[in-house]
């Protein structure tokens, strides 16, 4: 089980520092809720898509985008149900199928949902989870929260694999002629195995010095070459999107 969406690469967006990346992803998402013009909506949907394709290639873009597709298709199918009393633009046999207001409402939603989703996917595809957490520290995410997040990422694949093992071993104990695995005992075993790790994990944290007075404070991350140019590029894009909103 893999909890990292990161795709290794050397594209210009991979080389962007995580701090401007995080900051402008957030700005972009906030702007997604205020953009209303046709140009703005197009930019909202196609800019993150173009960046995704440019940084991880069409195939990886499709792997992520495919998950979004059923919902987008669903929204298109629901167009006829929207704003029935609006201006008809498509009628079949005297029955209004699509109204102008309905169409524009759904296109707005598709562009907003698609834009936000792809902006987040772009971030997860081009940055390692550890880097994202460390970048959030630069924006004053409290240390215990960052620590807990790192640990969650360690335990998700561990418990996922443990569940597979438990399910397998349960199936080894079944009587002749029975198949599958018993659901409740398996999930109970998983939870017991996970919960009994809590005191041991707390002990491990402390044995590794958690709570020690000597701990180094927050270390400012190094600034890569072109750090300010990266911020400037992000700001220009955010500003353009705001102006054409």
């Amino acid at each position: 089980m893999n909890v990292s969406s990161y795709v290794y690469g050397m594209s210009f967006y991979h080389r962007f520092d995580v701090r401007p990346k995080l900051f402008f992803s957030l700005v972009f998402i906030v702007e997604a809720f205020i953009v209303d013009s046709a140009v703005g909506l197009l930019l909202l949907f196609f800019l993150p898509m173009a960046l995704m394709i440019a940084s991880v290639g069409i195939r990886e873009w499709w792997v992520s985008f495919r998950r979004l597709l059923p919902l987008l298709v669903m929204l298109v199918l629901f167009i006829p149900l929207q704003a029935r009393d609006g201006m008809p633009i498509l009628s079949v046999g005297g029955v209004t199928v699509v109204t102008e207001e309905g169409l524009s409402l759904v296109l707005r939603i598709i562009s907003r949902l698609g834009g936000i989703s792809m902006a987040l996917m772009l971030l997860l595809l081009t940055e390692r989870n550890e880097e994202i957490i460390s970048g959030l520290r630069a924006f004053h995410l409290p240390y215990p929260a960052a620590l807990a997040s790192s640990m969650i990422l360690r335990f998700i694949p561990y418990l996922g694999e443990l569940f597979t093992e438990i399910r397998d071993s349960m199936s080894l104990r079944l009587e002749e002629g029975r198949r599958g695995y018993p659901m409740l005992p398996s999930i109970t075993a998983l939870v017991v195995a996970a919960i009994r790790m809590i005191p041991d994990t707390a002990a491990s944290l402390e044995e590794r010095g958690y709570g020690s007075a000597e701990r180094i404070g927050y270390e400012r991350r190094k600034r890569p070459n072109g750090y300010f140019i990266q911020w400037a590029i992000g700001a220009i894009i955010a500003l353009i999107l705001f102006l054409v909103r």
């Binding site: 089980m1 893999n2 909890v3 990292s4 390692r128 989870n129 550890e130 790192s150 640990m151 990422l153 360690r154 694949p157 561990y158 694999e161 443990l162 093992e165 438990i166 397998d168 071993s169 349960m170 199936s171 080894l172 104990r173 079944l174 009587e175 002749e176 002629g177 198949r179 005992p185 398996s186 109970t188 075993a189 017991v192 195995a193 009994r196 790790m197 005191p199 041991d200 994990t201 707390a202 002990a203 491990s204 944290l205 402390e206 044995e207 590794r208 010095g209 958690y210 709570g211 020690s212 000597e214 701990r215 180094i216 270390e219």
Partner: protein, 442 residues
Amino acid sequence: MAELDISFRYDSGEEVFSSFSLSMEKGEHVLILSPPGSGKSTLARILTGSAPKYRRGSLSGSFIVDGVDVLGLDIPERMRLIGRVSQDTDEMMLFSSVHEELSFPLENMGLGRAEREERIDGVLSLFGLERYRDVSTSELSGGEKRRLMLAVLFAIDPGIYILDESFDELSPAWRKRLASLVKGLDRTVIALGSHELAEYAEAFGRTVTIKEGRAAGYVGEPLPASSFPVRMNDRSLEAEALIIERDHRSSGDLPSFMLSVLSFSIRGGECVTLLGENGTGKSSFSRVLSGLLKERSGRVLFDGKEVSWRERRHRVAYLMQNPYEELFLPTVGDELRSTKASEEEVSEVCRLFSFDPDEYVQEMSYGRAKLLQAALFYLLDRPFAIFDELDSALSSDDFVAVVSAYLGKGVGLLVITHDLRVSEMLPGRKLSIREGVLCECQ
């Protein structure tokens, strides 16, 4: 100088130590050999402070190191004085990347970035993990995880190292390497083990044992006489032209491995031993035989008839490496009765393996849990059984008892081990895996 004298009792049960005392010279390497359940891991936890803080119990006594009573210090304050590698590697793993795992304790020691990176690079190469720097910890094999946990301890470099069954799960080559690393270490080292290993002799000057909660001199354990019962019968388990493929990693540059088994057979009541390095596919082969993994091609036959992979699950017992994955009911009695065995059989097994039916499974030590796992499959009465490194956490006596019990029932056994001594002690044919091919040892 380090002077230890402690008494300890868990809140949930019996006394573990009564005036256990041990004194060590600075830089001395001591080995404590005693059977599972005698308190080795408890000792390690008491010394680092996680018992009684996180495993409740009442502790009295002292552990004086250079004039300071370590037991009076809070856990993080002991970090530079004493550290341990736990028996269960997953117990102490905290992070998703190898680098974070190594960096965290060093940050807590207040080391700057340059010094941290220097230490991290040093221990990564010491334990052959250079390539795994940015790899996810969940993608490491059992042996690699063990090396990472050792690397963490060596990076912290405390005054006293505690190695709790750390030689187990390592391949023979890495056992040798660890022994020579320990030998060259000018720190005090306490190693804990359940049974003798050839590699111990080089690294440890003194061996003691735990007897009734006290330290006692260790008397060399003679190899148990190899008079295993012979109950050959007509059942058979065979494999022909098997090709097994498994993706080792979801990412990274390491290729998935292939194992080919031209022909393999085992009779009812026969004992066959399989030796091999880590990551050669011993566990995958076991999974195919027991029907948990599908082969890419080839056939598996029982009593001469081919059977589908799912049906194999009812014929082959597979005792996995981690016993807790196969145990899920509250007490020993609940577990044993879940096999639908009669009361007489359950009490017979309890006597045979010395279990108390009211004992809580989740409160048992790792080694005892392994023994329970063996008892369970004994009651399930499968015609064939695979022991995946069962010897690693059991005392030699318990291991011999388990093997004898199974063979005495006429079960066909495939024993997987890293330990040459164990392989020599067992009767029957020896197999090994060389360059992806399973073959008979000459």
